[in-house]
Amino acid sequence: QEYTIGVSIPAATHGWTGGVNYHAEEAKERLEALYPDIEITISTAGTPGEQANDLEDLVSLRNIDALVVLPFESGPLTDPVRRVKESGVFVTVVDRGLTEEGIEDLYVAGNNHELGRVSGEYIRERLDGEGDIVVLRGIPTVIDDERVEGFQEAIEGSDVNILDMQHANWNRDDGFEVMQDYLSRFDNIDAVWAQDDDIALGVIEAVRQADREDELFIVGGAGMKDIIKRVMEGDELVPVDVLYPPAMIATAMDLTVQHFVSNGPVLGKYILGSPLITEENAEQYYFPDSPF
């Protein structure tokens, strides 16, 4: 019997989603080659509304048997995913959980709260619980919120002082500009939490320009190869990274395919951690061929 699996992901509008796109395409090729009976179709959306459109189209035009969805945003896509589920499709949700429980058959979760917490703990530890830091946030969404929340919890009770937080929209240029302004505004910065590796790249350039590399260190997030390489090489400026792997989409696709080709059903929850990447373990997270 043949199965069609629909994959719905956000369009590659910044580094991390770009990585998601890459891994999805790669998994598609790999799985289709492996299982001739499986057909995978990927659609990308630029907004939550578009993604809801894509879900409808996957059902009505492609007659999918399973859906792997990485929701643009949890709230808006809960109902559209539920409708897909109601039409009898096997549903795998990736990364951002729906706001209603029990819709999905399979949940492959990233953990944004965890990413924030791990980052916060590292900074707290590294600064010995005392110092001035700045935070560059992402696009104002739930993901950003959860990360910041986790971060704040981790540094709570210490003397780590957040000088200011601004949105840098997970974008290099914004990261660069916001950091430039932080550097002219604050005479002393001990650490930067950039939250995302795209932002971190911009921050690095701004710090380099101001010649203040020796004064501070930067913690990004996600696991972009450029940053991991720096970590691997023992860069003082970027001593660690916190993983939030875009490859989770591939994991989810693998598991979904397993559900159809293996004997037993694959159901439940697969939570991926957000481990700290350090000089010692960086090598195992380094994929030089990935675009991310």
Partner: protein, 342 residues
């Protein structure tokens, strides 16, 4: 002497006949482009013609369509509104907050929803009024004013949502849900609303003084003023109408996704303006066509739908195909009537 008149008249008639033909194709241009596009869809995948798919597509196009109908008025009267997308997000946000808070008082019933709907319309009206008044009384270019309010509404909704998402109470959502998903006579409610707005818009634009004044103002503000038309008032009214259209679109949007955030309605303004222009309205004002706009909106949705029909094209290239189709579609419809000219 009388033979001269006769001569001239025949000449005129011939010219008129040619013109008549040209105008027909000019009017039908967008429809022709739509049909070509639909054929393309069927060729790529017969599922395109499935009832479900057609219904989904029309229902989707309702948001942009309704907003674009408002934009037709604004643009016809020589204005521009870039704020519609974020206005929609803002209205959706306020609506959700309001309904959520009313649940305690009125329960998750019709009253709550009606309050939400009312607030939405009122908000749209006010937002449009502000755009209009600042543009006309402040004598600031519409581009700047609405670019400003675009930023303002977008950030306000982010603020209201505290950076996250505002989600409608589940109970309310259940009774509100049919507004997007239910059908009447086999046609979904949003499509009915779209149709109603289009018909009202058509009548308003072509059969009332207001519509006529929009044309006159867009064509030449000074002449309009000399004809004792309250230019500022009419222009403000077009923005208010636009606001109401945005509110209507939001009212049928909210039950679909049941939430609002900073990402709601991003780029709707460009889509709406594109729909208007694809439909044959001129960006410089003075000429507007409601049916053209309707077709334009459907065409835009259809392009997205067609791209979902096939895997032949890399997802990364969606934008390329989309852009090319828009340009070619407009070219085809322009060309089809130009050929008949002299």
């Amino acid at each position: 002497m009388s033979s001269v008149m006769a001569n001239n008249k025949t000449a005129d008639k011939q010219i008129a006949k040619q013109k008549g033909f040209a105008i027909d194709l000019k009017t039908w241009g967008p429809f022709v482009a739509l049909v070509v596009l639909a054929l393309l869809g069927v060729l790529i995948n017969p599922a395109f013609l499935g009832l479900d798919n057609l219904s989904n597509m029309l229902t989707r196009s309702a948001f942009i369509g309704i907003i674009a109908i408002g934009a037709t008025f604004v643009i016809t009267a020589g204005g521009l509104d870039l704020s519609v997308g974020s206005m929609a997000a803002f209205i959706a946000g306020v609506m959700i907050i309001l309904m959520n808070s009313l649940v305690e008082q009125f329960g998750a019933g019709l009253t709550t929803v009606l309050f939400g709907v009312g607030a939405s319309l009122l908000l749209g009206l006010c937002a449009g009024f502000i755009n209009g008044v600042v543009t006309t009384k402040g004598k600031i270019e519409a581009f700047i004013v609405t670019l400003g309010t675009m930023g303002i509404y977008r950030s306000l909704v982010t603020y209201l949502a505290d950076g996250g998402t505002l989600t409608l109470d589940w109970a309310v959502r259940d009774i509100y849900r049919p507004v997007y998903y239910a059908s009447f006579l086999g046609i979904t409610i949003p499509v009915w609303v779209f149709l109603a707005v289009a018909i009202i818009g058509y009548i308003l634009l072509n059969y009332t003084r207001f519509g006529r004044y929009c044309f006159a103002i867009g064509s030449n503000e000074k002449v309009a003023e000399y004809s004792a038309i309250h230019v500022d008032r009419i222009k403000t009214m077009t923005y208010m109408l636009q606001g109401v259209c945005v509110a209507l679109a939001t009212i049928i949007y909210v039950p679909r996704l049941g939430s609002a955030s900073g990402a709601t309605g991003v780029l709707w303004e460009l889509e709406a303006i594109a729909a208007v222009i694809i439909g044959g309205t001129m960006l410089k004002g003075g000429h507007g066509r409601i049916w053209g706009t309707v077709v334009g909106a459907i065409m835009l949705t259809m392009i997205g739908n067609i791209l979902n029909l096939t895997d032949a094209i890399s997802n990364y290239l969606n934008g390329t195909v989309q852009g090319a189709i828009i340009i070619v579609a407009v070219y085809l419809q322009r060309a089809s009537w130009r050929k008949t000219g002299p």
